[in-house]
């Protein structure tokens, strides 16, 4: 070997050594992430949970067959990465997908993950006695068969662009040997629900309701050990208490800072904030049907031009800036920018107060008696706007909207309601207008239920506005059944533009969720639908660890002793 080559080899070896050791020392296993949260998780069973806190824990404890990518693509399997399945094969007619289970995958109790676990997960999720909301989302899956212990074959009713997403995203796999002895109707109160055993990179340690949930790194996990040795949710049911815990250094991470918290966070140089695109949007929706007699159109909002005039009278940019400052941007429509199918340049009804006034005049709504409120045939242009009293930003939005519409001669009575009362009023369509928010999934398909005709006519539908437009429905259907990304986006654009112009709601804000975290914490990208998706890749440099980072994870806490802790 020539001397030059030897030098190169030496340099290469040194480089390899440096590259190899730096992350090992800097990102070595260790550190405790303490998340400050304002709510208790409801239930740690994937098919039954409904709270965000439960979703966070379940997503770290359980694995899916494949994981959705950060781009949230749901078309076929593009962007999906292997998880419990180390590979998959599509059937010739695309009505089947055969998943091959990673032979290294094990449950936290040491049992191997097998294909029968996948079949059991599907069967139990669709069992009507379980009462899982997921069942409706996987209705396109006919069955799951297991030709051998390492292969689970999904059989679909029909070819669909998101059938891979349905089979993977909606169903974290649960262990059959733990759950098979528990009747589905009893899952909610079962011991297994309180001490979940999964196959994810974190294993469950303890849950003290109202106080703490603790997970520990599964160092022998088939996907490798996560970098943080513990993840703890410190639960404080009061929002201010939860924030104070974060500001005082008792916790490392706060998942949903509000605008009023930002100046306080800024006073702490050791704390940082990070925004990410979420999947929620806020709107003021009009009830298009008469609240008293649903067979008749609403006396005010039944008119499309009037709804457009109200949208024109709303300065959304100012409203959003006033309430959310940098923590939200004006909404585009019944969608979010994080979807690959959303065109960020969707045509909007522009803010134009003069035109709004003209339009209202032309519709016969005039202020004849000079009291500042328009009337027509003796009826004032007045309606009530219901808003949940639990959301301060939404109450502020309602008040600002009230003031903006007042300038157009419209009287809005803001009614703050307890959340269950508000939901009940919306379900019964017993309201004029409401400030609402939808938090969506990676699939934009839920728009069928929230704004489509199907969601309007079903008694349990979530289209509380009762908005119905066959053109909108047709475009949504075409978009959801299209396999071509460009065509899919074009159909969605047409659907969104149709509904924007019909104005069944004023599309107000798209919040930018903002997390606060301690600077010693090194974050990975925050995924739009689940900021916690990459927690296994978060880390704390060894030289920045504090005493609580070094709590021995091998010790089972006293409160968990005697329970079925893996």
């Amino acid at each position: 070997m020539a001397p030059l080559n030897r030098t190169r080899l030496l340099c290469a070896m040194l480089l390899c050594a440096c590259v190899g050791t730096e992350p090992q020392s800097g990102k070595s296993l260790g550190g405790t992430l303490v998340i400050s949260t304002g709510s208790n998780p409801d239930i740690l069973v994937p098919a039954l949970l409904s709270s965000v806190q439960a979703a966070q824990i379940v997503d770290l404890v359980y694995d899916r067959l494949a994981n959705i990518g950060d781009s949230l693509n749901i078309l076929n399997d593009a962007g999906f990465t292997p998880r419990l399945a180390d590979g998959w094969t599509w059937g010739r007619d695309s009505l089947t997908i055969a998943f091959h289970i990673d032979p290294r995958a094990k449950w936290h109790d040491g049992a191997p993950v097998r294909s029968n676990d996948v079949r059991f997960t599907f069967q139990s999720t669709t069992d009507s006695t379980l009462g899982s909301g997921t069942a409706a989302l996987i209705s396109n899956i006919d069955s799951v068969t297991t030709p051998d212990s390492a292969t689970a074959v999904f059989w679909f009713h029909a070819r669909s662009p998101q059938q891979f997403y349905d089979a993977t995203f909606q169903m974290p796999i649960i262990p059959e040997h733990i759950w098979k002895g528990v009747p589905p109707a009893s899952w909610r109160g079962s011991e297994a629900a309180r001490h979940p055993i999964g196959s994810g990179q974190y294993r469950f340690v303890r849950w003290i309701p109202g106080a703490v949930v603790e997970l520990a790194a599964d160092t022998a996990n088939y996907r490798g050990s996560p970098k943080l040795s513990r993840v703890i949710w410190s639960i404080a049911p009061d929002f201010n208490t939860a924030v104070t815990r974060f500001l005082s250094g008792e916790t490392d991470f706060f998942e949903a800072l509000r605008l009023e918290n930002l100046p306080e966070v800024a006073r702490h140089p050791e704390l940082k904030t990070k925004k990410y695109r979420g999947l929620g949007y806020i709107f003021a929706q009009f009830n298009l049907r008469d609240p008293v007699n649903h067979s008749r159109p609403h006396p005010i909002f039944g008119n499309r031009d009037l709804r457009r005039a109200l949208t024109m009278a709303t300065d959304r940019v100012t409203l959003v800036r006033s309430v959310y400052d940098s923590l939200a941007i004006p909404a585009l429509g019944p969608t979010v920018r994080a979807y690959p199918t959303t065109d960020p340049n969707l045509a909007q009804i522009p803010f134009d107060l003069a035109r709004a006034r003209q339009l209202l005049d032309s519709l016969g709504w005039r202020d004849a008696n000079g009291d500042g409120i328009r009337e027509r045939n003796g009826r004032p242009l007045q309606f009530s706007l219901i808003v949940p009293n639990s959301s301060r930003p939404r109450v502020s939005v309602a008040v600002l909207l009230q003031e903006q519409l007042r300038q157009a001669g419209v009287k809005v009575d803001v009614e703050q309601l307890d959340f269950p009362v508000l939901i009940e009023r919306e379900r019964k369509r017993a309201f004029d207008a409401a400030i609402g928010q939808w938090n969506t999934q990676p699939s934009p398909g839920s728009i069928r239920g929230t704004w489509g005709t199907a969601g309007s006519r079903a008694s349990s539908g979530s289209n509380y506005s009762s908005y119905e437009n066959p053109i909108f429905d047709a475009n949504v259907d075409s978009a959801l059944s299209s396999f071509n990304p460009a065509a899919r986006k074009a159909y969605f654009t047409r659907a969104y533009e149709t509904i924007i112009q019909d104005a069944p709601a004023i599309w107000l804000a798209e919040p930018l969720p903002t997390v606060g975290y301690h600077s010693r914490l090194q974050l990975a990208p925050l995924r739009s639908d689940a900021y916690w998706a990459h927690i296994p890749d978060w880390w704390i440099p060894a030289d920045k660890r504090i005493p609580r980072d070094n709590a021995p994870t091998s010790i089972v806490p006293a409160e968990s002793a005697g329970k079925k802790t893996p």
Partner: protein
């Protein structure tokens, strides 16, 4: 005495039954049900809601639900908590000791502090100290519970970080501590909510006790004590206070509802996992059974407090006993 006790017990049972009936009607008549909030999801269809309502018997007519609930109640079963997914008795068994601990400390602390303030005020009646203590007492007496709690939380956990921010223990490290450290940790967490509740309750005691002391001071036996040459401090401590304590026993019974209500707010602000916090959360989520269980237990505590006060009164005052 036994007859008296029996009569009061029957009264207590009737009161609790009435409270339970009214609460049952009110909570079921409120809009929404346990599955309203959590099921506000466009992906959850009516079949799921129907299944869940049927599983918990919420699809049955209200009178049937009423009979079924009180049938279970008669057997000591408080039902199933929808929001905690476990029996209500289990939820209350976990949370009640925390509430009782907080109340017991606050009750003892507030009576001790209140009586002490009253003694100082009466000993220096008409002085600047008396007026200042009166003003301070009135200030804390008038202040809303939740406001003082938030202020105390901010002041002593954030601006001046002397105490931890809520909870009964340091949830992150407590279970990894040694016994001594655990005790200290528990006391540190208990201090601020207990102090806040004590500060809120003691002004009432102080004002009540001051008035009672002023009532007994003109009495003949006090004058006799003075003529015997006893110091003012001895007169207050040995003669006036003992006689003026009698009305305070009544206050003890009346303090139970107030303290219980106060504890609810304190638990919410300080994330103290007590019964109050569980019930407040349950009201929001329409967890009927947990609300019922909490209210029934609360009413039992209040009636028991009242009964205890009556018994103490009868024990302390022979005239009552004779009647």
């Amino acid at each position: 005495m036994l007859r008296y006790l029996g009569g009061r017990l029957v009264q207590a049972v009737v009161i609790v039954a009435i409270v339970a009936t009214i609460t049952f009607a009110l909570i079921h008549l409120a809009p929404g049900d346990p599955f309203s909030g959590v099921m506000d999801n466009p992906n959850v269809n009516e079949r799921v809601r129907t299944t869940l309502r049927a599983q918990y018997g919420l699809d049955r007519p209200l009178p049937e639900q009423f009979v079924r609930y009180f049938g279970l109640l008669a057997r000591g079963d408080l039902g199933w908590s929808f929001s905690h997914d476990r029996p209500v008795t289990e939820v209350l068994a976990t949370t009640l000791p925390n509430t009782l601990l907080l109340m017991a400390i606050a009750l003892t602390g507030s009576f001790a502090l209140g009586i002490l303030i009253a003694l100082v005020q009466v000993a220096r009646r008409g002085s600047t100290t008396d007026h200042a203590l009166s003003a301070i007492s009135l200030f804390f007496f008038s202040i809303p519970d939740f406001w003082l709690a938030i202020l105390a939380l901010l002041a002593f956990t954030y601006w001046l970080p002397l105490f931890p921010v809520g909870g009964t223990v340091d949830a992150v490290t407590h279970d990894y501590m040694g016994l001594g450290e655990r005790i200290v940790d528990r006391l540190r967490h208990l201090a601020l909510p207990a102090l806040t509740l004590t500060v809120l309750a003691s002004p009432g005691v102080a004002r009540y006790q001051r008035a009672a002391l002023l009532d007994v001071l003109p009495a003949d036996y006090i004058r006799t004590a003075r003529l015997k040459g006893l110091t003012e401090r001895e007169i207050l401590r040995r003669h006036a206070l003992r006689n003026a304590l009698l009305p305070i026993i009544s206050l003890l019974g009346l303090s139970f509802p107030a303290l219980l209500t106060g504890a609810f707010f304190i638990e919410k602000i300080f994330s103290w996992p007590g019964m109050g916090l569980a019930v407040i959360t349950a009201i929001g989520s329409r967890d009927y059974n947990l609300v019922m269980g909490g209210v029934i237990l609360g009413s039992i505590m209040v009636t028991a407090g009242s009964l205890l006060a009556d018994l103490l009164y009868a024990w302390a005052d022979p005239r009552i006993r004779a009647r």
